[in-house]
């Protein structure tokens, strides 16, 4: 092994070097950790925020109410309906004698209504509801956490779909160019001139609004901006000597596109990635705000913002949602920035 020049990189694979470059951006690195922790915690929201206990030991038998629905009669109650664990009578039954209960951190799920609150809804922060309740008496903290999870998952799915379609069409257009490119480009222009918001409103009234419908509708329109950039990169790249060298080597079209053109065309994809993710979160939030988004019971940041607008004096609604939104978007943008630097092989 020689030891001159850039020898400290000698043993590192390209992936490891990218990771080093990512870590060199402190802000992005810290943001990734923060976001990672928050996101992983939110994935386990059912364990942390739930109105049902995690484990109940009733008469030396173990029950897992947060996973399985048990009727009240299981615990010696009167009704065949599901046990209401916040009810004082049920509480007494499952804690009497040797019975014990492990409760989640916060005793509210996203749609648990706090009937025991003495304050009118929306209620300001109390020891029961740490960030208060919304206008239906649901815990804002729980709704924020579930809403954050849904927003992020939604954004990831929408971005992944949009990027996949955008890269695919852009790559095909740019690489094969000519007539195929011409026809596809015209189709894209026609498609892009359709009024997206109108279509959303129309579809929202025809179909039952759901998160899946939103993903499908939004990703049908979201890929076009990216496809233009990828197409341009492929058009430029296909005439480069390294592509001709790859052809002379006998590589197939698919292999040339995958191994040679794609890695060199990712600059616009990576550059726009953080903005696409935050854009998706914003899209969902604004559609929910307008009431065109997810169905009413679903926890959503946009719906909370709309409530904040309706109840302008209930500062805990709008302020907390605002902080969650801004925080998420900022972390994502910082991570995206670091990712962009990490992908730049020219940097040390």
């Amino acid at each position: 092994m020689n030891s001159n020049g850039i020898s400290n990189h000698v043993h590192l694979s390209p992936g490891q070097r990218s990771w080093l470059r990512f870590k060199a951006n402190r802000r992005g690195y810290i943001s990734l950790w923060l976001f990672g922790i928050l996101f992983v915690l939110s994935l386990f929201a059912e364990v942390l925020f739930n109105d049902k206990p995690l484990v109940v030991n009733y008469q030396d038998e173990l029950f897992f109410p947060f996973l399985i629905t048990y009727p009240e009669t299981t615990f010696g109650g009167d009704f065949d309906t599901e046990a209401d664990y916040s009810d004082t009578y049920v509480r007494e039954l499952i804690t009497a004698g040797n019975n014990w209960v492990i409760d989640p951190l916060i005793h509210y799920s996203y749609n648990t209504i706090n009937f025991r609150s003495e304050l009118p809804n929306p209620a300001p922060p109390t020891s029961q509801n740490l960030i208060g309740t919304d206008d239906r008496g649901r815990d804002v903290f729980a709704r924020l956490v579930y809403g954050f999870r849904l927003s992020v998952l939604f954004a990831f799915a929408l971005t992944a779909l949009g990027v996949a379609i955008g890269i695919l069409t852009g790559a095909v257009q740019g690489y094969f160019s000519g007539r195929l490119d011409l026809i596809m480009q015209r189709l894209i222009e026609v498609w892009a001139s359709m009024p997206e918001l109108y279509l959303l409103i129309i579809f929202a009234s025809i179909f039952q609004p759901s998160i899946w419908l939103l993903i499908i509708l939004l990703s049908m329109f979201g890929w076009m901006g990216l496809s233009d950039y990828v197409r341009a990169e492929f058009l430029r790249g296909r005439n480069m000597d390294y592509v001709r060298a790859a052809r002379a080597m006998g590589l197939s079209d698919a292999a040339i596109m995958r191994d040679h053109l794609l890695p060199n065309s990712l600059t616009p994809v990576i550059t726009f990635l953080p903005f696409r993710i935050s854009g998706s979160i914003l899209a969902l939030t604004s559609l929910d705000f307008l009431g065109l988004g997810v169905p009413p019971t679903t926890p959503s940041l946009g719906e909370l913002l709309a409530q904040g607008k309706e109840n302008i004096e209930a500062w805990w609604l709008s302020l907390s949602t605002f902080i969650v939104l801004v925080g998420t978007l900022m972390l994502l943008i910082f991570i995206g920035e670091a990712l962009r630097e990490a992908m730049d092989t020219r940097k040390h």
């Binding site: 000597d241 390294y242 060298a245 002379a248 080597m249 006998g250 191994d259 040679h260 060199n264 092989t345």
Partner: protein, 532 residues
């Protein structure tokens, strides 16, 4: 009165970068007399262009520092002059022409407007006088029909005409010093000579001085009165031109003079197999016009050419830009649609479809001119060199592949430590070695070398050529060697084809064609390239 026009004393230039200061020029002193031609010669990175730009202080002040030095012009130290004073000097007293005339002329203005601009600025002329002077200037630099050409946009002129227009622009205000930074590098050889002759004529006529910056020591042989040889930011030798070429004192100057490609023609045994045989190769590009894209004309890029290449032989294909030499090479590799018959060993590859060609591709490889664009910037050396192995030798496992890659890299003079590095971490010569390794690892029969040394410094050029000829002997390779440089062709080829406008002008054994050319065009080429 001294006849010193400009004196440069102990000039130092540093570039400010994040990684610390880089000394580009370390204490350079020289002077230029009135009506004198001085040349600064050096390889890329020697600081010659930085020195030239410093005379006019054209560097971005945020990036460049001048820690020391004086530039005395007209009893004034330009180092201390204000930006406003500098503007009076630039373009009026000292003007400059650059390497690439396409990018140094503004594409959205006609050339006339760009020539008039400095006249209006420095001589306060009105539009009509300026235009007349501009026409005269174009006439003076040898542009035919200057009345019409003055309204042409840069893209409508040929490379030589553009450089002439640049010179007209630089000379419009009758400068006392013209700085020419690689004025001929981007031009064809025959045009290069014309431009240098023009500069020399104009210099005699106007009595200005010329500072010529170039990497080509031989170019200045006939041109310069005095030569400064630069190496790593210092002038290592400074002498009267005739003296320098006769008795180079510094070892670096000797090294540069020795870097002239010497004959490395590989010995081949006579009467061996033909590898590639092609007949009546034609590549016509249709010229389409109008709404329905009707074919109105054809550009005959390659017109009825026969090629034969034997095993272990080098066939030189020489011609100026636009002569169709690269197109011919691409057609022979079936990378460009063509008509005619091409046979590779027992395969009539002109009838093969792309699918059928693919398994054969490994036997016919390419090395390109520009080592910066021929290697994918996102792949490591291991990936670049190993890619073909994965495809054509799927039976090798990871360890075997790794061994082959390391062996091949050693063969081209690179060590194992380079495996994880990316192309941008290498110099031009090293990149070209990687490109060669990528082809050799596939054990090809034929390598198409498309100007493999044109983008390299002369000394590196020599190394790459000797590597190529070593590999040729070792692996019995056949080379199709495309170049505009007769010196390189003469050093490497057994036989040569001279091309012009898609046709063969002359062909035969290299010594016959180049030493004793039968055609006027070949003679002209030979005269322009080999100045002795």
């Amino acid at each position: 009165m001294s006849d010193k026009l400009i004196q440069v004393e102990n000039l130092k230039v540093t570039f400010k970068t994040q990684g610390g200061d880089i000394e580009a020029v370390r204490g350079v002193s020289f002077d230029i007399n009135k009506s004198e031609n001085v040349a600064i010669v050096g390889e890329s990175g020697s600081g010659k262009s930085v020195t030239a730009l410093s005379l006019l202080k054209l560097h971005d002040e945020r990036q460049v520092d001048y820690p020391d030095g004086r530039i005395i012009y007209n009893k004034q130290d330009l180092m201390l002059a204000s930006e406003a004073d500098m503007r009076q000097v630039r373009g009026k007293d000292i003007s400059m022409i650059f390497q690439e005339p396409m990018t140094s002329l503004n594409p959205v203005y006609p050339v006339g407007v760009q020539i008039e601009e400095s006249l209006k600025l420095h001589k306060k002329m009105d539009k009509l006088t300026a235009r007349n002077i501009a026409i005269e200037a174009l006439n003076r630099v040898g542009i035919r029909e200057p009345q019409q050409k003055i309204d042409s946009f840069p893209h409508m002129l040929s490379g030589g005409q553009r450089q002439r227009a640049m010179i007209a622009m630089a000379l419009a205000c009758d400068p006392v010093l013209l700085i020419a930074d690689e004025p001929t590098t981007a031009l064809d050889v025959t045009v290069q000579q014309q431009i240098l002759d023009l500069l020399k004529d104009l210099q005699k006529e106007t009595g200005m001085s010329v500072l010529l910056i170039t990497h080509d020591l031989n170019l200045v042989r006939r041109f310069a009165d005095r030569v400064c040889v630069m190496h790593e930011g210092e002038i290592v030798e400074q002498a009267v031109s005739s003296e320098l070429f006769k008795h180079p004192r510094h070892e670096y100057t000797q090294y540069l003079l020795d870097s002239e490609p010497e004959s490395r023609i590989a010995e081949i045994e006579p009467g061996i197999n033909t590898v590639i045989e092609a007949e009546n190769i034609r590549v016509y590009f249709p010229v389409r016009k109008g709404f329905f894209k009707r074919k109105v004309d054809e550009v005959k890029a390659v017109d009825d050419i026969d090629v034969e290449l034997k095993q272990g032989e080098t066939l030189g294909i020489v011609g100026e830009s636009g002569s169709g030499k690269t197109t011919l090479g691409m057609a022979l590799l079936r990378m460009q649609d063509s008509t005619g018959r091409i046979r590779f060993r027992d395969h009539m590859i002109s009838d093969y479809r792309e699918q059928q060609m693919r398994p054969l591709r490994r036997f016919i490889q390419i090395v390109f001119q520009d080592p910066f664009s021929s290697l994918s910037p996102r792949m490591t050396v291991e990936q670049i060199v190993g890619e073909g192995l994965k495809l054509h030798y799927p039976e090798l496992n990871k360890a075997q592949r790794y061994d082959r890659i390391v062996t091949t890299l050693e063969e081209v003079g690179l060590d194992e430590g380079t495996l994880w590095r990316y192309p941008h971490e290498f110099s031009g010569g090293q990149r070209q070695r990687i490109a060669v390794a990528r082809t050799v690892i596939l054990e090809p029969d034929v390598i198409l070398l498309d100007e493999p040394t044109s983008a390299l410094d002369v000394s590196v050029q020599k190394q790459v050529l000797s590597l190529l000829s070593e590999l040729q002997v070792k692996h019995k390779l056949s080379y199709l060697f495309i170049s505009h440089d007769l010196r390189v062709i003469r050093a490497m080829s057994h036989r040569v084809i001279v091309m012009r406008d898609g046709k063969i002008v002359e062909s035969g054994a290299v010594e016959d064609v180049l030493e004793n050319p039968q055609q006027e065009y070949t003679r002209e080429l030979a005269r322009a390239t080999i100045y002795y």
